[in-house]
């Protein structure tokens, strides 16, 4: 069963100097429980693809299915709900909310959804991403980069999404912390979460089982590790 399916997805940006085709008839399918990477040089359409899979943007044409929902033509409100419930985001710059403490950042998606028991579950998530409980009341500015990314991963897991979308998750980290974060993502994948990593770093891509290479808005190759 696939958690993400794209069928002939095209995204055209209208610019003052003419139109730009960022994605050109891209079709791909990502199975539940998979661990994949999307690679490509800058300008290849990586970010556009990530935004479309992440329901932050809608395609000009083609069909996008997340889980069992066709999201190609949903309203802003419906897309917001899918982002909250079905997708977990991990960003290069961690992007934690500065006014919230570590544990509150993790609890935030659950509070948005109106889940009860979010405090206990946030603590549990902290533990599962390898953060000491002493850090729970710290603001993001009081945490190291690696700690912030762990909080971000815990936040992404909060509403038990089917898929985690990680955009250069190790881009702002040193190599030792990077491998720890990738190990953590691998662990989360082994527990059943589908993980999609967008990266240009081959070391990061090596953690994944399948790599989609994008060139000029098209999928140039798919490499699977067997």
């Amino acid at each position: 069963m696939s958690v993400v399916e794209l069928i002939a997805v095209t995204k055209v940006y209208t610019l003052p100097r003419g139109s730009l085709t960022a994605l050109d008839q891209v079709s791909m399918s990502i199975d539940a429980g998979d661990f994949v990477s999307i690679m490509g040089p800058s300008g290849s359409g990586k970010s556009t693809l990530l935004n479309i899979i992440g329901c932050l943007d809608t395609p000009t044409s083609g069909k996008v299915v997340i889980g069992d929902e066709d999201v190609s033509a949903l309203t802003d409100e419906e897309l917001t709900r899918i982002r909250r419930d079905k997708i977990g985001f991990v960003f290069q710059q961690f992007n934690l909310i500065q006014t919230l403490t570590a544990v509150e950042n993790i609890a935030y998606p659950m509070r948005l959804k109106g889940l009860s028991g979010h405090e206990a579950r946030s603590k549990e998530l902290m533990w599962s991403v390898g953060l000491s409980e002493d850090l729970s009341e710290n603001k993001p500015s009081e945490l190291s980069g690696g700690e912030q990314q762990r909080v971000a991963i815990a936040r992404a897991l909060a509403n038990e999404p089917e898929t985690i979308l990680a955009d250069e998750p190790t881009g702002n980290l040193d190599s030792k912390t990077s491998s720890a974060i990738m190990e953590l993502l691998r662990e989360m994948n082994e527990r059943g979460t589908t993980i999609i990593v967008v990266t240009h770093d081959p070391v990061v891509a090596a953690y994944t089982r399948k790599t989609f290479r994008l060139v000029d808005g098209r999928i140039a190759s798919i490499e699977s590790v067997t």
Partner: protein, 373 residues
């Protein structure tokens, strides 16, 4: 309420800026409440001092003449119970002190209808005694039973009147009142200086006025009829205008405060663009963002409004005690209403100023906001 919590923390994050924005609201609300309470107190104190009765008509002679007995009878036909008044100014000696005061000659039967006693009694029919107004009695320390000297006569004071306030018909507070007969004898006067007509209701005044005018001013104008209602309304309008003017001054400072809040909120939405993008990306709805910013302006307005109203009340209290020497005006419903109005204006201005920035923030596209550095 998570978005309220966000709002509170975001304001706390920029304490100095939030305090400045609040100060603007405080000044605006302070101006509205203090000026409102002040205007209201002045109005209340004035209406205590003015003797204003809306259902009265006063008939004056036109020109130098007086109203003749004949003309008075004509008036009485239209308005039963009309009260004829003779008046003049003369030197009166109280306990060897001479004062220039108003002297009124009234029919004894009219006195209870027009005046109120503080002490003693009214004049009996045919009496050659007198009544003294409250102010005069106070200033010259005269008591019932004493005598005053008026021309050749030495009438005895049989009653002291209650304070009536400044009136547009008669002003008995600083006057002595004698019978019409005595007045006639002393001053050889024949006609009346004015006629007071008391009516059942305010609604009748215009009709009766027209009737009197039609009857007496047939050939030429001999009388002038004044409706006290019009004066009462004129004064009310004047005070309403003063109140509005003061409120206007207060509102200007609130508008300035509103602009400063708009500015603070715009700055804050631009600064937090990236954070808004993150919040939207992980599933915060537009409504949530809108609420967060509206709560921020609500908090600014409520804090500023309450502080401003508190200060406004204190200033109003000081002014009332120091200038009007009466603090009771503060605790009237109309003064309290200005406090509520002030807080409401403060919150209203603030929320209104926050609407556009909040709306703009909620319409940001998540991808573009995320990319913002």
């Amino acid at each position: 309420m998570i978005f309220f919590e966000f709002a509170r923390r975001n304001l706390a994050r920029h304490k100095f800026r939030s305090v400045l924005a609040v100060i603007g609201i405080v000044i605006g609300v302070l101006a509205i409440t203090a000026l409102g309470i002040l205007g209201n107190s002045v109005r209340l104190s004035a209406s205590e001092q003015l003797h204003l009765i809306g259902n009265e008509l006063v008939v004056f002679p036109y020109g130098d003449a007086s109203i003749s007995e004949d003309q008075f009878e004509q008036i009485e036909k239209v308005a039963a119970g009309a009260i004829p008044v003779k008046s003049g100014v003369d030197k009166v000696i109280f306990n060897e002190e001479t004062a220039l005061v108003s002297v009124y000659g009234l029919r004894s039967e009219d006195m209870p209808n027009l005046l109120e006693r503080a002490d003693g009694q009214f004049l009996k029919h045919g009496s050659s005694d007198c009544l003294v107004g409250a102010r005069l009695a106070d200033d010259y320390e005269v008591r019932v039973g004493e005598r005053v000297t008026l021309k050749t006569q030495k009438p005895r004071i049989v009653g002291i009147l209650q304070e009536r306030g400044i009136g547009f018909d008669i002003n008995p507070d600083s006057a002595i009142i004698i019978s019409d007969k005595l007045f006639e004898a002393l001053y050889e006067s024949t006609g009346y200086n004015l006629v007071i007509v008391k009516l059942e209701s305010v609604e009748e005044t215009e009709a009766v006025r027209t009737k009197i005018e039609d009857r007496l001013n047939k050939k030429e104008q001999v009388v002038m009829v004044m409706e006290l209602k019009m004066i009462v309304e004129g004064i009310k309008n004047l005070f309403n205008m003063i109140s509005l003017f003061l409120l206007g001054i207060g509102s200007i400072s609130l508008v300035v405060a509103g602009v400063s809040i708009l500015n603070v909120m715009m700055m804050s939405t631009v600064e937090r663009t990236k954070e808004i993008g993150v919040m939207r990306a992980i599933g915060t709805s537009r409504k949530g963002i809108l609420q967060m910013f509206l709560f921020e302006s609500l908090i600014l307005g409520a804090v500023g409004g309450v502080i401003g109203a508190g200060l406004g009340f204190s200033v109003g209290y000081l002014v009332d005690v120091l200038i009007l020497k009466e603090a009771s005006y503060l605790f009237t419903a109309s003064s309290i209403a200005y406090l509520i109005l002030g807080v409401a204006f403060g919150i209203g201005t603030s929320v209104l100023s926050g609407l556009y920035p909040a709306w703009r923030a909620s319409r940001l596209k998540p991808i573009e906001a995320l990319r913002y550095e």
